[in-house]
Each structure stands twice: as C-alpha cells, then as structure tokens.
Amino acid sequence: MMKIKVKKKILAKNEDFAAANQKFFKKKNILCINMISSPGSGKTTILEKTAKALKNKINIAVIEGDLYTKLDAERIRATGLEAVQIETKGACHLTAEQITNSLHKFDTDNLDIIVIENIGNLVCPSDFDLGETVRVVVLSVAEGDDKCKKYPNSFAQADVLLINKTDLARYLDFNVKMVRKDVLKLNKDLKIFEISAKTTAGMEKWFKWLKKAIR
C-alpha cells in the first residue's frame, strides 16, 4: 500500500480558464457580469429591457447558457445585441472554458459589457468562477421570500441582487424587508435593486449602477 499526499486543487482547470478570462476582460476593459438565478426569474427579460434602454449608450454582448434551445440568444438578438448561445445538453452550470471559447465569437474591441446568463439554477453555477468582474443574482418575488435562506451559496457570493417581478408582489406574500435583512446577514456588501422588468419600474437605478460600473 502506497500513500501519497497530493494537495492539488480539484477545480484547477476551471480556475485556470477563469483567470485567463479575467485577464482578458481587464485588458479589454470589459465589465463581465455572471448572472445567476432560478429558471423563470426573468433574467432574459431583464437583459432585453436593459438592452433597449442602453444599447445606444453602452456596447453590450450576451452569452446565453441553457441546457437546450437557442431561444434566449434569439430573444437577445431581436433587441439588436450580439449573442452567443451555449447549449450544455444537460449540464447544470457553465464552465470558464465554455466562456473562453465563446469570447472568440465576438468582436470584443468595442465592447463595454459582456453578460453571461448562466443556467437557471440557484445551486451549481455558484461553484464555478467564470472569471467575471461582478456576479448578479436575480430573485423573483414569485419564487418566495425564503430562497436566500434555502440557497445561501448563490447569495453569499453575489455583488448585486435584483429582486424582480415586484409588480406581482401585491398578489403574493413576499416580504421584501425580510429578504433584505436575510441576504445582508450573508453578504453585507450586497447591492440590492427592486425592479420589475415587465413594467421597467425601478430599473433606472440598475441602469445607473451599470453605467457607473463600466467607468
């Protein structure tokens, strides 16, 4: 019987690609956003509305992650933005290597922001650093106000929380105050915006934050 001490990082391969992506974004002065949420929280709608409001002021491109279909990339392209679709064929998260490969498909010289819309999943994507500049987590009021307690990993590692579908809040028992209190316990530096991507209520502050972040 032989025993060897290894002490090697298991996700070293992903970390290497993430570090390369991070370096690339820095060199090109691109703000890369890794957007994480449950399925159906409104990530794509938020991006559509953001594109509509900012496309003549900021150059944005989107990497769409889904298990199957190119539907989301088509929705983004319909707004006039460039989009690349990654279909993971069942995998529950995006990897830094997939991002590296997607970056070649854009003309990155004039880009200000690249948004990565991760797979709709509040568990797995939070484990895989993509080399992003900031991490944005979306929680829609329809999902319930206990999600940050149940899935703390995603919230603990985010820079921004978008509480979406606030236009539905009056029909649902979603306690925004409690959510704010709970997430700040996990992550006291988290920036929180309450928005409705459908009505665009509250989105001005999010746009302002984006404009400031690329400076």
Binding site: K7, K9, I10, C124, D127, K185
Partner: protein, 114 residues
C-alpha cells in the same frame, strides 16, 4: 449535480498523479469548504460512476468538510460560520467577519502497487 463535474476533475487529477501502470487506487481523500456546496452522497455516487473503468474503480472516497471561520463584531466570539444559520451563536447578531473559504483540494491518494 455539479458533483458530476467535480468527480470528473477528481479522477483527472488522480490520473495525472498516479501512472496507470503503477497500481490501483484504493482510497482518495478530498477536502472542501462551505461555499462549494458539496453533497457527500451525490459526490460519492458521481465518483463511483466516473471512476468505473479507470484505476480509480472501486476506490473509497473520503470527503472532509473544512469549516468557515467567523468572528462576531459585537461580542468577539469566534465560531464556525453556517450559511444556513448566519448569526453569532452567542449574541445572535449578524455582524461578523467571515474568513476565507477553502477550495476543493485533492488531499491524498492511497494505492496498491502492482
């Protein structure tokens, strides 16, 4: 099931360390932090499946969970931070300094030499 990808990376890391001809892996020890959200059962299941047909087939997987240290800013109590109970166990306040979480590490490999 990000454990599948983690298992793939464990087996890849082992194969880079242990030559195929040198023997059969019998036990593997890994450590993980709190943010990795590793579920033991899911990871063991995935590891068994990925290890099949390699020198890691049948190897036992031991997973060590390394606590995330925190210090309360109010009462200065040192405690292990629990993501599911983010408050000081002594004073109940939620104002604390959290230490660095450890990454997933392949700690050691035991194998039978051919």
């Amino acid at each position: 099931m990000h454990e599948m990808m983690v298992a793939e990376n464990i087996v890849e890391t082992i194969l880079a360390q242990v030559q195929k001809k040198s023997g059969k892996v019998t036990r593997v020890v890994i450590s993980c932090g709190q943010i990795n959200a590793i579920n033991d059962e899911a990871l063991k299941f995935a590891f068994e499946a990925i290890a099949a047909g390699t020198i890691c087939q049948g190897a036992k997987l031991k997973i060590k969970h390394i606590p995330l240290k925190a210090v309360c800013n109010s009462c200065h109590k040192k405690f292990n931070f629990d993501l599911y109970e983010p408050q000081c166990p002594k004073c109940g306040k939620s104002d604390f300094l959290i230490g660095d979480d450890v990454p997933l590490i392949l700690e050691e490999i035991e194998f039978e030499k051919k």
